[in-house]
Symmetry: C2
DNA sequence: ATATAAAACTAATAGTGTTAGTTTATCAAC
DNA sequence: GTTGATAAACTAACACTATTAGTTTTATAT
């Protein structure tokens, strides 16, 4: 019983995802992966091209999961309420799926045009919410960047430990303030543009 | 002429820094480093304990450089003017010292308490600026987090390629809007707390 | 001059990813 | 049911990482 243990690409990807979710790391070695699947390392190459492709597949999975999570959290919500719900969902996903989130935030980087393609739905979720504010196309592009910058910046620094400077001060409150800051800034921006 | 080519820890660190600045990567292999210094890989261990220590030393250098850059940019400035200058300096450093910035943003992460210690001056620069707004200690802690979240989040996503969604829309303008958003949010927060 | 210590070396190990070439099991056609 | 093709496992090897042990060389201080 050497050949065929019923292993498929999907099973490999699922196992890789499970490992990342468990360890919180955005990667797994082929050795470890093969060990968990009960095969020898090179056998993985019968199913995947290389680590890049594997990472890519897990990336696709992570994006899908993240997007679904965001859509579920903001469905039937609009404007400020949607923004707050989105921020909450974003943070929840990032902390509860650390490995996947880190992967999402470590892939594109210049080269990988294919990954950027896959990530578009992720950007669309924010754009849809901001569409409810009656902004111009250009304004949406700007504010979508600002919003995502705040959300990711917050998670990232929290994760890095750069927020434990005043470690007695509650992180959740900081996050609320950040979201409120975005809304205040957005509203201020709206007032300004409508008065011109 | 085997022993002693006048190599020191400082020279090694300087070369590592130079490599990172050149490649934009937050790391360099010992092989490459040794090659550039004209020695064999294991000889590096006469001067450094391991890659962790080397990274640590480069990290220290990066923090110092970043802090100096920030202080120079915001000296004799206050409040909004200082905030804007800081944001500008932050972005300039991150883009012109990509390798060092990436290193700064990849080290601490839970474990490394020593690195967190080294990074404190980095946080102080923001705290000092926010001190000019007459906020409470707690409010400073919150807003310092928000500001740094925006700044890093912006750089990070820009670097990752997550901002090229609407690639015709100017990044610089988005950044201005982000900083203005922070100031509007901060001012809104100030009004609210003073009216209580 | 010689002993010591610093700083280079060679050789080897273990952990990454990856390729080439080989064997085995399964499944379809004759 | 044997045959033959294919899929999927294997072993063996290589290149690249960091690292350690043990050796040699050179500079320097007594």
């Amino acid at each position: 019983m050497m050949a065929s243990k019923g292993l498929t690409k999907e099973i490999i990807i699922a196992e890789a995802v499970a490992c990342m979710e468990r360890t919180g790391q955005p990667a797994i070695s082929l050795h470890e992966l093969a060990r968990r699947l009960g095969i020898k390392t090179p056998s993985l190459y019968n199913h995947i091209r290389n680590t890049r492709e594997l990472r890519h597949e897990v990336f696709r999975y992570a994006i899908d999961k993240f997007v679904a999570h965001q859509r579920a959290a903001t469905a039937h919500k609009e404007r400020d309420e949607a923004v707050r719900a989105f921020a909450q969902a974003y943070h929840t996903f990032a902390t509860q799926n650390k490995g996947l989130y880190r992967l999402i935030m470590s892939i594109p980087s210049e080269e990988d045009a294919q990954a950027k393609e896959l990530a578009i739905p992720l950007l669309d979720t924010v754009v849809e919410i901001l569409s409810g504010y009656g902004l111009t196309e250009e304004a949406i592009a700007h504010w979508q960047r600002v919003f995502r910058a705040i959300l990711h910046g917050f998670i990232s620094q929290e994760d890095l430990g750069y927020f434990y400077y005043y470690d007695s001060i509650e992180l959740n409150k900081s996050r609320e303030i950040a979201v409120q800051c975005f809304l205040d800034g957005l509203h201020a921006g709206l007032r300004e543009s409508s008065s011109m």
